[in-house]
Symmetry: C2
Subunit: 403 residues, 2 copies
């Protein structure tokens, strides 16, 4: 009998192996962990015990050194880890370094450099357009089909799943009000997104081509772009969202390497407009990912947004973000934008799910337009893997606490 | 005769003592320097030679440890430095650690955490409004007088003065064009700004009050927020500037501590609208700074924007930026927004100086609407000090190079 076993079909089996950073009970010390079933492997300690050269990348308090190491190293480390958790002789060596997930504290897995947020779901953009500009001829702005719209967010307030979110205060002003008022946001919302994590930097002045996406991007996580709609509405013209978003952005504790998601690659939706060459992916390998997201409030699923519906791919977003010569750094994080499918039950924000509060959701504990204090929001997701086995993407969760 | 002397009235005399980071000729090693006249003092080496306890803050490759040390340490270190450069016995000890500025390479003085850019000049905002919305009833957006409008920029592309700026490429589309085209920006501009550098972090969920500005902000620098107007115009609705700004932001090599600018404090312009309590500075000490900026293209001065005209102060910007609970980190940088005075010759961008290209500038080497390849833009500034002696703020310069 092997020293440990992951049940067959477990979404966190040896086919997955996402990376995180954890601390053991009673310790503040951080180290890289790899999830295996309901355990986390202290990957650095295992590497040291096995005399692996990858100890230098894994016995570290953050994923950044591994992120910076590049695609060849990413593949080599993954191959090594796969052997450690599947070959019986290695299994015996690493068994002491497996800790039950329930016994550890998961940390922010990497130091976030720049954080950018996109707006890449056509369904989401059309819903928002219809809600806020009901009389407009086209619910999309004229640039939407020509470039992936994005903006920079606050990297210093990216927090790991499980961190409480303090309800932000700020200015708001309804159209008829004579002056703005100040107070806690009364329209606190979520945005269900996927975040992409940059590993390999690029040089200032040198764009990154579409086809180099996998050389720079290590993996992905789940991301909740908490949004105070009332603060945002009053502040965002003309320079975009600021305090309506900057109070917190939550990411999942596990970064799933792109290498674990090969089976999930799909073609993006058909393009309705010709694309400029730097964004034209018609000759590229499929740039979409079939990720099945679930949004729950207090344990009750309210939406299941399908990531495969995103109009702009992560590779296109990377190419666009750098086409002006802006450089990448290890730890750059970019969000996909709210994921909303075509169906009402696939919308990734309460703004859309309740149609700006006009159609409240019926939850077991009462109606919701926007979030109430004490609400716990959990995004979770999985992707199809080989042989019908799911690749688990974990979850990102957060509880709203009063100011 | 003392071992070194700074000419009387020199704007970089012992009353100033701005901080930077430099490398000696032929070396990549970085260390903290303090400017004295046309020399830079290796402050860490001097501290070690004098047995100073501040060696731990100064013998470092970046200003971040000093920034994080807090106001009491900032004052103590400044007092020590003042003694080192003025007391004869100390002067002899530190003389070997003074290097001619011409012999060193100046580096980015601190690691930039988050970068935020504001929009705080009423003259600038009105000029932009009149240029782009000539038919609007009010050239300011309705929120402008109620909050300091800001957005996050790209911290990874903040570069030190002297770094070449590659002309960015991107999408642009004139209103009559059927589709966007791609190519190098043809409307490359500057924005003359002042940048504020955060030293002491704050806790997530805890706003920083107006009166705590000086506990968190260490000092200021000059900042050129390079802007590709054509890229920006096509991309910025609805989420704000992105690639039109993210290719480069240049900062001066010297960070002037707020302690050197006590004589330059002035009241901001009279407020025309009542302010919410968290922004109401009517009972505070003067929050403005009388900084005299000069903008030169290829050595020819084209504008002299007065910072004292800024409607929103740096303290108000800090209070606003954190009022939603967003936390500060050591190394956060925020720009004032383009500084434009009331007079045409005080405008801080070519957009305004040429009224969107309609009134070209006459330079000795020809007409300019926007920047041409090879143009060198230099912002410099000084502030009034005690006894009529200027406090030099140095310069931020950059040359445009073809893509």
């Amino acid at each position: 009998m092997p020293p440990f076993e992951v049940p067959e079909g477990d979404p966190f089996g040896p086919h997955n192996l996402p990376y995180g950073v954890f601390s053991r009970a009673g310790s503040q010390e951080r180290t890289v962990g790899v999830r295996l079933g309901d355990h986390v492997l202290d990957a650095g300690a295992a590497a040291v015990a096995l005399g692996s050269p990858y100890a230098a990348l894994l016995a570290r308090p953050t994923l950044n050194p591994l992120l910076a190491a590049g695609r060849t190293a990413w593949s080599d480390v993954r191959r090594a880890l796969t052997a450690w958790v599947t070959v019986p002789s290695h299994q015996e060596t690493i068994a002491p370094f497996l800790h039950p997930l329930s016994s550890v504290t998961l940390r922010l897995p990497f130091e976030v450099a720049d954080y950018v947020d996109f707006y890449a779901s056509e369904n989401h953009a059309r819903n928002v357009g219809q809600i806020f500009r009901p009389d407009a001829e086209d619910s999309l702005t004229p640039n939407w089909k020509h470039l992936p719209i994005g903006y920079h967010g606050r990297s210093g307030t990216v927090v790991v799943s499980g961190t409480d979110v303090v309800r932000p205060s700020g200015q708001r002003k309804a159209p008829g009000d004579p002056a703005p008022v100040f107070g806690p946001s009364v329209r606190l919302d979520i945005e269900a997104e996927v975040g992409f994590v940059v590993g390999v930097p690029s040089r200032l002045g040198r764009p990154v081509a579409l086809e180099d996406f996998r050389e720079h991007v290590f993996g992905l996580c789940l991301l909740n772009d908490w949004s105070a709609r009332d603060i945002q509405a009053w502040e965002y013209v003309p320079l975009g969202p600021f305090l309506g978003k900057s109070f917190a952005t939550s990411v999942s504790a596990w970064i799933t390497p792109l290498d674990a998601l090969e089976e999930a690659r799909v073609a993006p939706p058909e393009r309705t407009h010709p694309l400029l060459p730097y964004l034209d992916d018609s000759e590229e390998e499929p740039g979409g990912y079939d990720l099945r997201i679930s949004v729950a409030i207090n344990g009750h699923v309210v939406s299941e947004p399908p990531f495969s519906t995103m109009y702009w791919t992560a590779a296109q977003q990377l190419a666009h973000m750098t086409v002006n010569g802006a450089s990448l750094r290890t730890g750059d994080l970019y969000g996909s934008g709210t994921v909303s499918g075509a169906e009402p039950a696939q919308r990734g924000s309460l703004l859309e799910l309740t149609w700006n509060g006009r159609e409240p959701l019926e939850l077991p504990d009462g109606k919701r337009t926007f979030l109430e204090d004490g609400d716990v929001v959990t995004l979770s997701a999985w992707a199809p893997g080989a042989n019908g086995v799911r690749v688990g993407l974990g979850e990102v969760t957060g509880r709203i606490v009063a100011d």
